[in-house]
Symmetry: C2
Subunit: 304 residues, 2 copies
């Protein structure tokens, strides 16, 4: 199955203790698509300005990402500039210029409207809801959000919960949204409002998936060198939803495997700037890291 993703397509300038990059491909839809393209075909809806280096997107096209929903608008592209310190845990945003993204109104092309798997990247929840009016009968709608929307459009975020099957958000966002410090309680709060599945991402500390009354946990891979954490969450989502779409299997066993594929893709993207590593790795790399994740947590519960 194909995945439809709606989100930002940006140009990121990032400084980490290991180097810097200017105007590199960024944005939630970009990371998601680059990651998910390892598993299935991707339909991308977003907006870029006249200044966007479109040739850089060709590699995504060659990987099966359909950009016919990428709108070209008058004005400047969304640009973000950030810096990470040595702990790499949180970015200091130095500059955010929304440009054409500030007037983005997602228009889902007719041929994308029958998508069975939909990922609503982190954009205004009113736009996320609007996308849902434009798609026909998706089998799985997943969304992401962020602190900015939880603060400024809380009611819309809660309304969105009633319309999605699955949400991914990070631990601080889950606490902020639910006003529950405890993540088990936070997940239940969210599930009571709609989603059957809640994935709470804890960055370098891994991710929980709550599904009904079951909990699954996947650690982040203990990398020796994290180069640039930008895009880890969207790459996680790309691996997660991309794998689910490719298998078209929403069983709990497959959801668990999908979380690990998400973690695998998140572990790759942080090894380089922008989507660089996502474009480098191949099926063998992904399979090898999946096996490493398995070995990382494997133990025999049968006491000899």
């Amino acid at each position: 199955m194909t995945v439809l993703v709606v989100g930002s397509v940006a140009l990121d300038s990032v400084e980490t203790p290991f180097g810097r990059v200017d105007d590199a491909l960024g944005g939630s839809a970009t990371y998601f698509a680059a990651s998910a393209s390892h598993f299935t075909r991707v339909q991308l809806v977003g907006v870029i300005g006249a200044d966007y280096p479109e040739e850089k997107l060709l590699e995504l096209v060659s990987r099966g990402v359909d950009l016919s929903g990428l709108e070209r608008a008058e004005g400047e592209s969304f640009r973000w500039r950030g810096r990470y310190g040595h702990d790499l845990n949180s970015a200091e945003s130095l500059e955010t210029k929304l440009g054409v993204f500030s007037h983005f109104r997602p228009k889902i092309p007719a041929q994308f409207r029958t998508a069975k798997y939909v990922f609503l990247g982190n954009i205004d929840p009113r736009l996320q809801l609007d996308v849902l009016e434009q798609v026909e009968s998706p089998k799985l709608v997943a969304c992401d959000t962020m602190n900015f929307w939880i603060e400024s459009r809380r009611d819309d975020v809660v309304k969105l919960l009633g319309r999605v099957d699955l949400i991914t958000l990070n631990d601080s966002e889950a606490r902020q949204l639910t006003e529950q410090v405890n993540l088990v309680k936070a997940a239940r709060w969210i599930m009571e409002r709609g989603p059957k599945t809640v994935v709470i991402k804890k960055g370098e500390h891994g991710a929980f998936m709550f599904h009904g009354d079951r909990v699954f946990f996947a650690p982040a891979y203990p990398l020796e060198a994290v180069f640039d954490p930008t895009g880890a969450g969207d790459s996680f989502a790309g691996g997660f939803v991309g794998y689910l779409a490719s298998t078209d299997d929403l069983s709990e066993a497959n959801l668990r495997r999908a979380v690990v594929f998400g973690s695998v893709m998140g572990s790759f993207v942080v090894e380089g700037f922008s989507i660089g590593r996502l474009l480098e790795v191949n099926k063998d790399d992904i399979a090898a890291r999946l096996a490493e994740f398995h070995s990382l947590v494997a133990f025999d519960a049968e006491v000899p």
Copy 2:
């Protein structure tokens, strides 16, 4: 096999958002012993003052903890008073009165000197080294330490590394000791100085075990209500080393299982004040939670 533990035996007064307790059993050796007693016999070496409510230790004795190495000294017992806020991540120390603990010089009784499994709880590294002069040929020496000793007695902590097989420490301590932000690098730094096995505890984010070139990770159990985090690290160590001693098997597979038994015991102790929950739970509870830990991380790496 029996485990010898040397550490503090204290009286803790703790305030959490869920209640408070005064002069409850505490200290690294106490938590370790209560936890390890579920797996094997424990020999405890420590010191208490004349004011210690010894009758409260009888329950440990009835569980197979040998207190013949517990010294009674003139003066007041070690007392700690602390408070946790809503996030329960770190205690605010309100008062620390070392009392008789400030003059503690561990004397290992003759019948304890042949112990094969030794845990050096978090005390002055010079005393930890001194204990090692008093034991004969242990099969496994494990130790813990803390930021205070890393700051004030760094050379002795490093010297200790050359004498132990295994160290447990938390992530911030590992970073402080090694001056490496990355935990993989921190673990390697430590292993280069002696220990074959390094367990880095991340509190609510679980624990890594580095063993040769292998890494194992066990999450913390996602409890809905953490009542009091005091003693989680020592209870982890008690389950970990206690299980190893009971099986007398230092294979990697058994070390992995031991980390999970440590996590199981850590997950119980935080459900109540002091060692209360450790005294309540039984073999079935432990087996059930071990199974829950297994289910928490289990996934099938074989893509169908």
